[in-house]
């Protein structure tokens, strides 16, 4: 079976872990993330009789004062940058994270995820502005970790990209 490494990045509190928890099987505790900055879970995704095993590297929240260990992105088939549509700042931080990641690994597909669609959008970005930012990414997906909206689709898309 094909195995793919996928990293999940994003500012603190945007719902990265909740997004992963929606559909993974886990053997390690959350403590790992606070200790070494990453926790790994796996999930098998099937489509048209083919199976892909995703190894999801859930990285701790990144902010402007604390970067992330770029080594964690090495060998990844894709990475996801998650932002929160209830916080304008998270989008800017997400773009900064994208730039940092691109600096080290320019060829890895980057998936843009706007999370918390179950809550009303409270940022001031218009759809056009959002689309212009999304162009920097491989694709844009709007998800809700709470309701599970688009979560399966997101990982399925990445698995068979």
């Amino acid at each position: 079976m094909i195995q793919k490494k996928v990293c999940i990045l994003g500012p603190t509190g945007v719902g990265k872990t909740s997004l992963v928890k929606q559909f993974v099987e886990s053997i390690f505790s959350e403590k790992y993330k606070t200790t070494i900055g990453v926790k790994i879970d796996k999930k098998q995704v099937n489509k048209d009789g083919r199976g892909v095993q995703l190894l999801l590297w859930d990285l701790e929240g990144i902010d402007r004062y604390c970067g992330f260990n770029p080594r964690y992105l090495r060998g990844a088939s894709a990475y996801i940058i998650v932002v929160d549509q209830t916080r304008s700042q998270s989008l800017l931080e997400g773009i900064e994270i994208l730039e940092m990641a691109r600096e080290h690994y320019p060829d890895i597909p980057a998936f843009f995820v706007v999370n918390k669609t179950d809550l009303p959008s409270s940022w001031h970005w218009s759809e056009e502005e959002l689309d212009s930012y999304a162009k920097k990414f491989t694709s844009l997906t709007k998800t809700s970790a709470k309701t599970g909206e688009n979560v399966e689709n997101l990982f399925s898309t990445i698995a068979f990209w």
Binding site: Q3, K5, Y32, I36, V38, N69, R71, Y72, G75
Partner: protein, 589 residues
Amino acid sequence: MEDNGLSPESKDNSLDQIRALILGRDDKYIQEIVKRDAKEVVGGIVSEALHERENKDGSVNKVLVPLVEKSLHRSIEANSDKIVGTLYPLVGTLVRKAVSSFLVDFVERTNALIENSLSPKSVSWRFKAWQSGVRYSDYVASQVYQYQVQQLFVIHRETGTLLHTISSDPERSKDADLISSMLVAINDFVADAFQSQEYETENELGEIKTGDFTLLIKIGPQAILVAAVVGSVPPDIRSRLQQALEEFHQFYQVPLQEYQGDSTPFAGCETLLNDCLISAKKEEAKGKKKRLIGGGVIGIVLLLLAYLAFLRIDLSILQSTIRDLSPPAGVVLTDTAVKDGKVQVRLLRDPHMQSSLSWLESQEINTSKVIIHEAPFVSLQKNVVIDKVSSLVVTINGLTAIYDENDALFLSGSMTIDALRAFTRELRAIPGISQLKPNLSGIDIVDEVRANTEELDNAVINDLVARISSTHLPFAIAQENLDSEQLEVLERLGQELYQLQLLAKQLNLSVAVFILGASDNSGSPSRNLALSKLRANNVKEALLPMKVDPSILFPIGLGQLSLSEGSMGRTVFLNVLLSDPKTSEVNTQ
């Protein structure tokens, strides 16, 4: 990570340039000749080359095994009928062998299961495993093996994904992919956290050790080999791992370069890795020594238990023997029990009697194993009373105690009146003395002073009066004459009456002895009256020759007595009257 040396591409270019310089245009011709004769050249040396390479590093086998397996598989799929035909004669033998092997294996497994599940060792191991919070199988491995390589991971260095894993316990392989990724993440973390500023080389983990568990990590250009080892890591395992990793890179160079997440091409690397899945059991000698010590301890405990059981049985027998003994007069056995390693004997003992310890010793009882709890009591047994009287009598000179066939006590001898008084007091103080009917008439008073002693009067006179008054002589029907038995009684009675009259005289007392004759109610009353008078008179006459003063004897005929038992009426009985000179009253007994 990038190589520091020349890249493969630049190496290839240099070689091409050298080749072009040396050979120039002849290169084409040489290549053609080599290609034309390639079959012959290779065919001539292929067997020797394979043999030599196999002997050198065993790599031919490692390459061929997965190829042969794959070919065999395809061959069976394509020509199954032929294969069945060829194997048919062998199948019976194979099945027999397999069944026999299964049975042997089954028995061994059952034995192992019994040993591991029910033995004290396994219970102790289970407890310790639970206490340490580790799996029972892991704890057993740590106890049984000096070391054991439990699992091997081959991990793609770039992505951290698992290429292949083998394990001594198939259960462990379940989450090997997640563990592999985590190991790579930890390695990345270490590399980032302890990055050296001076040197460009990355710090990478070579070993992770927790207690008895070690992860040995060998990092290659494209793959990482990780061995999970329990116990003390043997020195040669690192070189084995290094060799296996090098071989892995050598054989799977192409799949590694082309790796896109598919681990299928690496399935055949098991033969490479198996050489590293090694273990060594702990030396049995230590176990045997422990078993010997354990056996010794158990033996000592058993011997001790046997000795204690023997002691207990011995004490029980002793207890039973004591319980069955007939205690002497004055001793009553109330209870026996075994407690505190001794036989506890509870008894009542008259303080006058022999000690219970000497009694037990006389019965050949080992008294060192006996603890006696005594409580005093007063025994009224006749033997005890006799013994007490004898003890009293021996303290007085000249006094003799005689017992008749009915154990009646007759005392004779001589003593002063004071001594007699004291003796009488002590004699009467003996509990149960009345059953011996003590007779003091044989004691002579050697001192004149006794006449003035009232107690002596009471003691001696009253005793005589009582004895005389208790005498009765039964007669046969219509018989008034005395037979030999009656004369014998009268002889004793005569002596007592003689003593009575002497004592009364000394004490100035008047004595009257009424001899009362009676008859049953058969016959006429007048005849019965006459018969009763005759009987009384005959008794009186018989007493006269015995120095009895006739003036104190008063024979009276009572006539017939209407008693329910007729024979009771045919009798003569006596009654004594004593006058008291001081009060002028008469004492009747």
